[in-house]
């Protein structure tokens, strides 16, 4: 049965919207939310509760809604836990009840309700304990299936999300009366104002009440103010935007629902945008949430906040079938009755808990008024049919009703004021918490959020607070007169508070969403979980998606009552962001799937791609791993070939990713000498040197080569992985440790493309590349030489004779815009000698064969001594890390030493991470002798080889050991050898 609609309200009757709920076709109008459209269609049963699967209906009209959670179909996917009360109705909306099977009408799991005595707070810890193995396998899966709020479909989120950054002088949260007025004053005074409201209309509570502002209806007054504001260049309005979190120093997080109210997001447009807002001051005008007291069976469909009923009647112009009963402890009871009657809705009775003597102004309308009375029970499983009351004199009466509107006070929405820890304080007058007076980072609160509930008082309050902000930020205030407020109809009589009502053993709900009752709170106290933090976690009160918006204060008040403490002393749990659930997609923004982080391409990337390279991610970089040739089906074939050809002829590899730092200045030599452990003071111009860099604690940080191109000009290289960290460290040394040194650092990793040309034919290749006038013979350009020259007819270049592979080798650098062409030309020349391009895999194999340390060995735990480089830490000068490298603990006789490891059998494979044991030793941690840091198949030796750290390794060359890999359950016989498998005397390098 549909309900009637009055022609008033904020509804566009010319725009009919067809939607479906649980596959039933229905219609509503533009301006409806799903909740209002359902109620207009007479549908009150919306879902089933979390634990007990009790029938539930919406109990509010806003974002605090605990019951009306639905799953909607969207963009070919589903979204669970959408609030029916804030979901704007759109054509084709398909919504479904959650947590019920087979239907919300007939839910088999309602059996949980009968098991209620066994499912009280903390039941997990007391029941289902035996047998132990059953918990994980049997009980938990069943309980998990039986309780829940919506389910996730496991498909990828099809919607797009966005992120953004906004700056303002003043952020006003909430565009109700207080927020709009504050925005008006501040904008006129010249502040840059950002106004945000989670609703799709401005006006806040005035949209649902019948007060007149300046003679206008609330909705008209509000939209007029907004239109005026929009004409100012220093004002910006964020509609459908929830400010969900307060962070340090005036930073806020806000979620804008850009197209949630559309069936599909327009092409390329996001569904939601996450805003990071930077403000110099903020004014929280977030209003208040009405609370319903915890009376027995207070959770039936048709029981709602009185304010929500007024919203459905006034804003959404619904005329529900009565009769309605209003239960109140404040003047809002009478206001509600008045509104219902003026819309022709039948009101059975007003149950006023206050013992005040007053005439019954509704007598002529046939409304019975019971003073000093309370509701003690309700009936009607799938929707309320009767309410039982207890009168002043203790008489019990059962009254018929289809709706029960409850008003027992309002809780200011103060979450945002205490995300940065400022604990709220108890306000006796309104029986709720408000923010502290002095808040950090120029945050102020006004209006209902500050506990000011009367509209004229709100204007006064917000004007005062806004003027403080205007002055604080150095602007001049402007003068505006607040509008008149008419049609205020609520008796200004002292309100009463009832936290809960008991009636025998009947359950009274406190947290509707998590199904927590007064009994659970009593049980919590009984079991010793008395503090608010324990109460929350033991009962799960306030832990559902509504985060206790409707239950926290009530729960605390009940605990206070039981413990005999005052509410000021009980305190609250800490509010944490976010105020509403935020989808992970919104937090990711555009950083998802392939684009979740940026990718860095090398200068020769395009050439490599065209030439069939297989790529590998090396940190942020995409590097060519190997270059398969036609006929090669396995990576080993390609890599083995690349190694063998390079060592027998020549190979070319893009090594641009290594960090390059340009160091200049009068004191650059001294600077470099202080940051490297080995000596650099006498490095001649035109020469490079291997440099070992330690951390101040004596552990090796990084290594590289530094070339001296000029008297005061050096180029330092770092490993790819440590480039950023080393630069940071060098700047620390430069700015913080030795600010008086004249030295300048610029990262030039990006500016130069660099290529290794390695192998016996490398000089021959280079001769065809370097312009004729430059002498690169062995005498003119010996091992470790460096210099500036030109290649390919005049392209400026830098040449370094350094070798990572152990072969005769060079690295040539050109400006990166020539990088791609350079790689093409180099490989062309190399091909004349049957040479090949090689990738990171071959690069790795060759350096392991040579015994060069790399990232695996520089693992943050090794010292120079461990790596066989004790002599590299000069005793003739100080350098970073030198002092602590001499610590006893880092120089024990039993310390590690870098060795080579070769398996006895050529068919055995060594794996990095395997541990080393002496022959015959027990394989336990106690007897561990070390581990393998790097391993590879060496085509040169036709065997698996490895580098590793072995205790006293330098004294154990030749020893037979065991290599143990417990993950692969392997135990291999191997020999300790020199880490330099290839050319240990370095003859190839110097040829």
């Amino acid at each position: 049965m549909t309900n009637k609609r009055s022609k008033g309200g904020i509804i566009d009757y010319s725009k009919v919207i067809y939607f479906s709920f649980n596959n039933k076709s229905l219609c509503g109008f533009k301006g409806d939310t799903l909740a209002s459209a359902l109620i207009a269609n007479g549908i009150f049963l919306v879902g089933r509760s979390f634990k007990y699967h009790r029938p539930r209906g919406v109990m509010s009209a806003g974002s605090e809604e605990p019951n009306g959670l639905v799953t909607i179909k969207r963009s070919g996917s589903t979204v669970p836990n959408v609030l029916a009360t804030t979901l704007e109705l759109y054509p084709g909306l398909e919504a479904f009840s959650q947590n019920c099977w087979p239907s919300v009408e007939n839910d088999f799991l309602a059996i949980n309700d009968l098991l209620a005595p066994f499912l009280t707070a903390g039941f997990y810890y007391k029941t289902f304990m035996w047998p132990k193995s059953f918990w994980e396998a049997v009980y938990e899966p069943i309980i998990r299936k039986a309780a829940g709020l919506g389910s996730l479909n496991t498909k990828s989120d099809p919607d797009e999300y966005d992120k953004g950054f906004l700056h303002c002088d003043l952020l006003v949260v909430g565009a109700g009366v207080a927020g709009l007025w504050a925005a008006k004053l501040a904008t006129k005074a010249g502040l840059k104002v950002l106004l945000a409201d989670e609703d799709f209309l401005v006006g806040g509570r005035t949209l649902s009440e019948t007060e007149l502002l300046g003679g206008m209806k609330g909705v008209d007054w509000a939209s007029k103010i907004l239109d005026e504001l929009k004409r100012s260049a220093n004002f910006r309005y964020l509609s459908r935007t929830t400010v969900y979190g307060t962070y340090d120093h005036g930073i806020f997080g806000a979620l804008e629902k850009v197209s949630d109210h559309m069936p599909v997001s327009p092409e390329g447009k996001p569904r939601q945008t996450l805003w990071r807002i930077y403000s110099r001051a903020s004014l929280i005008c977030s209003g208040a949430t009405e609370r319903i007291t915890a009376f027995p069976n207070n959770d039936r469909p048709g029981i709602m906040q009185a304010g929500a009923l007024r919203s459905f009647v006034n804003r959404w112009s619904i005329i529900p079938k009565g009769p309605v009963i209003v239960f109140s402890s404040t003047g809002d009871g009478e206001r509600t009755v008045r509104d219902l009657l003026s819309n022709g809705i039948s009101v059975r009775a007003l149950i006023d808990s206050r013992e005040i003597t007053k005439e019954n102004i509704f007598e002529s309308d046939g409304v019975e008024v019971f003073r000093g009375a309370k509701v003690i029970d309700t009936f009607g499983r799938k929707g309320i049919t009767h309410a039982e009351i207890e009168t002043e004199i203790g008489e019990k009466k059962k009254l018929e009703c289809r709706l029960l509107a409850v008003s027992t006070g309002w809780n200011p929405n103060i979450h945002l004021t205490s995300h940065h820890r400022a604990k709220p304080r108890w306000n006796k007058k309104i029986h709720s918490f408000v923010a502290q007076d002095k808040l950090p980072n120029n945050m102020f609160v006004a209006g209902a959020a500050a506990g000011v509930f009367s509209t004229p008082d709100i204007f006064t309050d917000v004007t005062k607070k806004t003027e403080i902000i205007i002055a604080l930020l150095g602007f001049k205030k402007s003068k505006f007169t607040a509008p008149s407020v008419e049609n205020i109809f609520y008796a200004q009589v002292e309100s009463d508070v009832i936290w809960h009502i008991s009636n025998g053993n009947k359950r009274a709900w406190v947290d509707l969403q998590n199904d927590v009752t007064v009994k659970d709170i009593q049980l919590s106290h009984q079991e010793g979980f008395v503090s608010v933090e324990h109460l929350k976690r033991y009962t799960t009160l306030g832990m559902a998606t509504d985060q206790g918006k409707n239950s926290n204060v009530t729960g605390l008040a009940i605990m206070a009552e039981i413990t005999g403490k005052s509410l000021e002393n009980v305190g609250t749990t800490i509010f944490r962001p976010p105020y509403i659930p935020i989808s992970i997609g919104a937090l990711a923004g555009r950083s998802r799937d392939k684009n979740f982080r940026p990718v860095r391409l090398t200068p020769s990337h395009h050439w490599a791609k065209e030439n069939g390279a297989v790529f590998i991610e090396a940190g942020q970089w995409l590097r060519a791993q190997y270059f398969p040739r036609p006929g090669e089906t396995n990576w080993r074939q390609s890599v083995d070939r690349e190694v063998l050809v390079t060592r027998s002829s020549v190979g070319v590899c893009d090594v641009s990713t290594l960090g390059k730092i340009d160091i200049q200045g009068k004191d650059s030599t001294e600077f470099i000498n202080r940051v490297y452990a080995n000596g650099f003071a006498r490095l001649p111009v035109g020469k490079s040197r291997y440099g070992l860099m330690l951390r101040e604690d004596g552990i090796v940080m990084d290594d590289g080569t530094t070339a001296r191109l000029g008297e005061t000009h050096y180029i330092m290289t770092t490993t790819t992985a440590n480039a950023v960290g080393v630069f940071r460290h060098l700047e620390f040394c430069r700015q913080c440790l030795w600010p008086n040194l004249d030295v300048h650092l610029i990262s030039t990793t990006e500016s130069w493309a660099q290529f290794a040309i390695a192998g016996p034919n490398s000089r021959r290749v280079l001769r065809k590349v370097v312009d004729k006038e430059f002498d690169i013979s062995n005498d003119a350009f010996p091992f470790m030489a460096c210099g500036e020259l030109t290649v390919f007819s005049g392209i400026r270049a830098r040449l370094f004779r350094i070798s990572f592979s152990g072969e005769l080798a060079y690295e040539v650098a050109v400006p990166s815009k020539f990088g791609n062409s350079m790689m093409a030309k180099l490989t062309e020349v190399a091909a004349e000698f049957d040479g090949v391009p090689y990738g990171t895999e071959a690069l790795g194999v060759m350096r392991i064969e040579k015994g060069h340390v790399a990232g695996n060995e520089l693992n943050g735990q090794t010292t120079a001594r461990d790596l066989g480089m004790a002599k590299f830490v000069s005793t003739k000068k100080d350098s970073i890390g030198a002092v602590l490298s001499r610590r006893e603990g880092l120089n024990s006789d039993d310390g590690y030493s870098l060795v080579g490891i070769k398996p006895h059998s050529k068919s055995d494979v060594l794996v990095a991470g395997s541990h080393l044991f002496s022959n015959g030793s027990e394989i336990t941690a106690k007897f561990d002798q070390g581990y393998i840091t790097s391993a590879a198949y060496s085509p040169s030796l036709e065997s698996s080889i490895a580098l590793g750290l072995l205790k006293r390794g330098d004294k154990r060359i030749g020893e037979n050991i065991k290599v143990v890999n417990l993950l692969a359950k392997s135990n291999t016989e191997a020999k300790v050898v020199s880490p330099h498998f290839i050319d240990p005397n370095g003859e190839r390098l110097r040829g």
Binding site: Y247, D248, H249, G250, I251, Y278, H420, P440, E696, D697, V724, R728, E731, F732, Q735, C736, L737, P739, D878, A882, V883, L884, R886, R887
Partner: protein
Amino acid sequence: MIIPHPLLGPRDSQEFVYMGDASLIKRPDPKKQNAQSEFYEYLYLRNNPAGTHKELWFHEQGDRSWLIVTRNTLTHEVIGAELAHDMGFESKD
């Protein structure tokens, strides 16, 4: 968190990398007899005040300057920030 960069104005702390206690600026004299114990204290021993504290931040995504930031560890209030090494450029010219 906002760091008030002395030259660039307020900047989001996401642009920075945190290093540690500002006392790291005072590197001990390696030539002293007890250099090892001094370096040990310099690297590993710290006061941990519940209150104002000076620390080093590197403006990696900005001007690459090292700043000494004074922050209250209880309230997160940032009281001020100064350049670790002010070369004195920006006051004139």
